[in-house]
Amino acid sequence: MTRRIWAAFTGLALLLLASPATMRAEGRIFANGPLPPIPVPADNPQTDAKVRLGAQLYFDTRLSADNTISCATCHDPRTGWANPHPTDTGIRGQVGGRNSGTVINSAYMRFQFWDGREASLEGQAVGPIHNPIEMGETHENVVRKLNAIPGYREQFQAVFGGDATIDGIGKAIAAFERSIVSGPAPYDRYLMGDRSAMSPAALRGLRLFNGKAHCTPCHSGPLFSNQGFHNIGVGMDKAKPDLGRFDHTQDPADKGKFKVPTLRNIAETPPYLHDGSEATLLDVIEYYNRGGTANPGLDPLMLPLHLTAREKADLVTFLEALTGPVPQVAVPAFPMGEGVIADPKGGLR
């Protein structure tokens, strides 16, 4: 009897130890694997001409009412395709309430904007144009302006078979943004078998990320985002807090919820959180370590973490290992027309 018990125990232990693949990957609910191929909507296939047109539109300040603001103003390629300031400054110096998220890998996001009010990249691309604080233009007027520029008109004819439309503008910018995808990060290379790709500190950080630091439940999947919405309490102690997702859905359960951002290339896009209130990754980790800001809708998984100084540093090192190469995009030449002036950031205004 004893021998049989020991044999069964030993056999099971060996089986489990010898078959890590069966224990580790298959069927897991949360898996942070490499990025899949870019999802492209059937009604907006990627073409080189469309991406080129989208790049011009992305950098062109003439999409704004006073020709001062382009997409690149707030989603600057030189600062991780995001805004290095806590919140955005739009036309006439108006200051918005949220930090611009990165364009990198936005192609994979099921929801756009911090509150997820747009489902498609095409919809997101034209949203800021008629936002009174951001670009302050009307869709009708921007279409009129672009159709008055021969170079744009020709390209829209070639790409879409007609004049510029707001739908075409959105599709072209979205196509360009779909080309801004990060390549393999050290983390991906580690997963592919390069054991030297991540430092011991990064590996310790990975285990913390997936354990004691409680990051994975929300930051899971290839994007390191479950693409859901959560209330982690940011800004909820203010007299008039930004209610995030609630403003779009009007569901009381959504008060204070914001989209879970991707963590890929996160080291390149300070400051952090929807209001840009945390300057560094370590600051963000400190925020989580405190358990967030108490409020009635605080996510039940927000809890004090008791991370040590070394554990926090290891987490930062791991997050830095999620940085992959991003296509280098030069500011394109623009079709000439009215309202084009030099942009100190390298584009046109």
């Binding site: 890590p20 354990g211 994975t216 439940p217 998984l301 004090p304």
Partner: protein, 401 residues
């Protein structure tokens, strides 16, 4: 020979744990299902952290992420195995007239499965196979230790119903997930043939959160084995608790609780069915205080039993409790020290005191090297009896595959 095999197994397992950290990490049942490290839910396996406690209270679903769960029909039902192996020794005082015991052995084995049967319907099964006493292997009775279904978010987001055999919520400090190998004396105490609080119960329990972070749990359970089927269910309980600060009081926040348990049992007298069931109750207060990496667990419990349950004419009440300090300076190291006492004049006319200290080092999340020393004394409260003492020591490896 078998001792050598056990020793070799320990060495090999320890080596495997140390050499194969990636493979071994996070393999137990829930961690494997989600792809988490064990430390997602355990401050130090098997002790739950606040995250794990909320997960358990939510019916083995991640709160607010229930839509991501997979049922047993959508993914294989995860199964885990838990056991420990190593040295245990017990030495008794001379007056106990018991021989010292020591062995290098496998200490218990259980199989566990848990998951989702459907949206907001979770299950937990713990099966303990019967093992006969043998050299190198500790005996254990076979049983279905736990088999419960949890219906979550019934009617409101904070009402859960647990049905079946489970560890009831009236225990503020779980005996199934305690770090120490020695029992909480006050939870283990019971009248003859009665049910100890430490035992799992069969019945139904509701639990959840009320306003202002107030927690509640109430249950109707079968109670002790001295009741016949027609008597059961016999016992009810109510627990109320609140947490000051963020957390669940496991590793963050300060939890204060009060528990009441009222039961009926048939006086044993060889299970004389002609005797009617009589009553007993337990009232306890508890606190779990967290300061940084330290947790202080405090429990005080009063018990009063109908004297017929003891076949005794004396005062049938007792009180006891414990204070346990746990320190976890690192994620892979935890130390604990505990004082138990049981002021129990009726129970063999002895007051019980236990002093326990130990530590666990996690070679990987699911393989713990455990060392513990515990000294228990029974102080006679009548003149013609001797004090008894026992010293328990263990050094072993705990596994959860």
């Amino acid at each position: 020979m078998r001792n050598r095999i056990v020793l070799a197994g320990l060495v090999l397992s320890g080596a495997a744990g140390l050499l194969l950290p990636e493979q071994a990490a996070g393999v137990p049942v829930f961690a494997r299902k989600y792809g988490f490290e064990c430390t997602m839910c355990h401050s130090s396996m098997p002790r739950l952290n606040d995250f794990g406690q909320r997960y358990r209270m939510n019916g083995y679903q991640l709160p607010d992420l229930e839509h991501l769960e997979k049922t047993v029909l959508e993914s294989p039902a995860p199964v885990a195995l838990r056991t420990s192996a190593g040295f245990t020794g017990t030495q008794y005082s001379e007056d106990a007239q018991l021989p010292a015991e020591s062995d290098l052995r496998l200490n218990g084995l259980d199989l566990l499965s848990a998951g989702q049967l459907g949206r907001d319907i979770g299950y937990l099964l713990v099966y303990v196979p019967q093992i006969a006493e043998a050299r190198g292997v500790a005996a254990q009775d076979g049983s279905l230790e736990m088999a419960s279904i949890v219906f979550s978010k019934l009617g409101s987001s904070s009402l859960n119903v647990r049905v079946g055999r489970f560890e009831p919520a009236y225990l503020p400090f779980s005996v199934k997930r305690q770090l120490s190998a020695t029992p909480y004396e006050v939870y283990a105490a019971a009248f003859p043939e009665g049910i100890a609080l430490a035992e799992t119960q069969t019945g139904v329990e509701i639990s959840g959160y009320g306003p202002s972070r107030f927690q509640y749990a109430a249950g109707l359970v079968e109670g002790g084995p001295t009741l016949r089927a027609i008597d059961a269910p016999g016992d009810v309980y109510l627990r109320l608790a609140t947490v000051i600060g963020a957390g669940e009081g496991q590793t963050a926040g300060h939890r204060l609780g009060v528990t009441g348990y009222v039961g009926r049992a048939r006086p044993t007298e060889k299970f004389d069915v002609s005797r009617s069931p009589v009553g007993f109750y337990r009232i306890g207060v508890d606190a779990s205080l967290n300061l940084g990496v330290a947790n202080l667990a405090l429990q005080y419990l009063m018990a009063r039993d109908d004297q017929a349950l003891w076949d005794d004419d004396g005062e049938v009440s007792y009180a006891g409790g414990f204070g346990e300090l746990t320190l976890q300076p690192r994620v892979d190291l935890v130390c604990f020290a505990r004082v138990d006492y049981l002021d129990a004049p009726v129970i063999a006319n002895r007051d019980v005191t236990r002093l326990t200290a130990g530590g666990r080092f996690y070679a990987v999340d699911n393989v713990a090297l455990h060392a513990e020393l515990s000294h228990r004394t029974e102080k006679a409260v009548v003149e013609d009896q001797d004090d008894l003492a026992e010293t328990f020591v263990t050094a072993r490896v705990d596994f959860a595959f």
